[in-house]
Symmetry: C2
Subunit: 255 residues, 2 copies
């Protein structure tokens, strides 16, 4: 039985989608059967997952509202062991209230994850920023969660609140463990960025901070422009190597 | 009668809070009576608005749930014409469902904005990432909206959706105009960042893109670490100057 790994943060723009896409690709490269699911109405996974040209755009929201069966929304990618479910047509609508309710209250998300866990080693779920109904609905059904923490002073200020929110959600789901905070966009040339790293290493309990840190780099942004995971597009880049190392470190939790 | 200016984006981490705080400080420096309201449960405004040490932390959410009167939550800052309303105790709670409902459906937000418009030239409202009930509730009562657009390929990919969402919200409120997209974190040394700028200038109708662009700079992050708006802490910095120029360009819309 595979496990569900959610990527969550209340703060926006911290690298949730970048982490979800690249961890998924790195796991698949190691031979883990991997499914990547985009629950964020923004639908950013679509732009970075290495899908084939002309791919279908129906996704998770179309499965939830009953207009598409599951097999229609599971898309192949450039990697044999990586499949992707996009956010779907919710990305084209302006009002997400109904979609949020379906994620939080419906029975289709549990069914989807049960089916996926039966067929895969790991199901990685990208989520929207915040601790709203979508994130709560996903975490209620997850076994693992990683919280990207951007190495910026402001992201640090809101960390206690994020940890409190996650602890609250972890307490409601006995199967859920916090794998840790993942420091992202660590900029060795920026004193304020390095102060954040030092503060986290000194003040957050060691078991809550992943050893791997993802450095700030041009490559993830260029990979999005090219529509691919950076671990595939630019494997020699330091950010790519960080995601590959992270996958190596976490892989045995999912086999 | 003053006007309400909302700072909105579906994408996270694009500079909404940085723009709200610095535009508010720059307007106040020009002598406009300015109120800055934080409606985002993350409560990031608190860390960048230049509040006095030991300031009260009750705020907008405490006014909404009836535990505080308005005069208790309006806080003075280092600038005579700038007052701030923080997010308040919602920042300390893990579940924001009730808070979201109060913002979207209650009568207290309209009352607060009416009172503020009677006393100020401009009320700047920071919002959480997304197009959820808080953003919709705020935009229904606003006269102006600015959408920060991070000069990154991925932020560009989701722009059509953000513009569609905003157009939908603008169509529901005849008083609301989109002042424009504000390009932020523009990195002259990054080819992918400059490609985003060129693309936006070439493809988005000119009247929808503000002339001012905010360059990527260390100074806004360091200003958050110091708890102040960057326009006050480091007025010579290029990002500060961009916000000051933007305030000069927009000021006559609010007097
Ligand atoms: N290591 C890195 N170095 C530099 N830029 C990065 C890095 N990782 C991600 N980025 C860029 O930072 C931006 C934010 O990343 P991303 O969209 O993955 O964050 P997010 O948390 O998913 O955002 P949202 O809250 O909007 O969902 C993107 O433009 C991405 O290309
Ligand atoms: N011009 C800039 N150059 C470099 N960094 C910047 C700039 N403006 C803002 N930042 C930094 O980028 C990060 C994101 O900015 P900010 O928090 O204002 O975005 P936001 O859209 O309000 O995020 P959220 O979606 O979480 O509310 C912060 O760490 C901030 O210090
Ligand atoms: Mg994302
Ligand atoms: Mg913000």
């Amino acid at each position: 039985m595979g496990k569900v790994l959610a990527i969550v943060s209340q703060k926006g723009g911290v690298g949730k989608t970048t982490t979800a896409v690249n961890l998924a690709a790195a796991f698949a490269r190691r031979g883990l059967k991997t499914l990547l699911v985009d629950t964020d109405p923004q639908g950013s996974v679509r732009y970075g997952a290495g899908l084939r040209k002309g791919h279908a755009t129906a996704g998770f929201s179309d499965y939830l509202d009953g207009t598409r069966p599951l097999r229609d929304v599971i898309l192949p990618t450039a990697l044999p062991w990586l499949r992707v479910i996009l956010a779907g047509s919710v990305s084209d609508s302006a009002d997400h209230t109904l979609y949020q309710r379906r994620v939080a209250d419906g029975t289709l998300l549990p069914e989807l994850l049960e089916t996926a866990r039966a067929r895969c080693h790991v199901v990685i779920v990208d989520t929207p920023p915040g601790l709203g109904p979508i994130v709560r609905g996903v975490l209620a059904l997850s076994q693992h969660v990683i919280v990207p923490l951007q190495a910026e002073p402001l992201a640090l200020q809101t960390t206690p609140q994020i940890l409190r929110g996650i602890q609250d959600l972890v307490s409601r789901n006995p199967e859920l463990t916090l794998d840790g905070l993942l420091l992202t966009m660590v900029d060795a040339h920026s004193p304020s960025s390095m102060r954040v790293v030092e503060y986290v290493r000194a003040h957050v309990p060691r078991h809550l901070v992943l050893d791997t840190m993802v450095p700030r780099s041009e490559a993830p942004s260029e990979a999005f422009a090219a529509g691919q995971p950076v671990v595939l597009r630019d494997p020699g880049d330091a950010a790519s190597q960080a995601y590959v190392n992270l996958a190596a470190q976490l892989a045995d939790r999912f086999q």
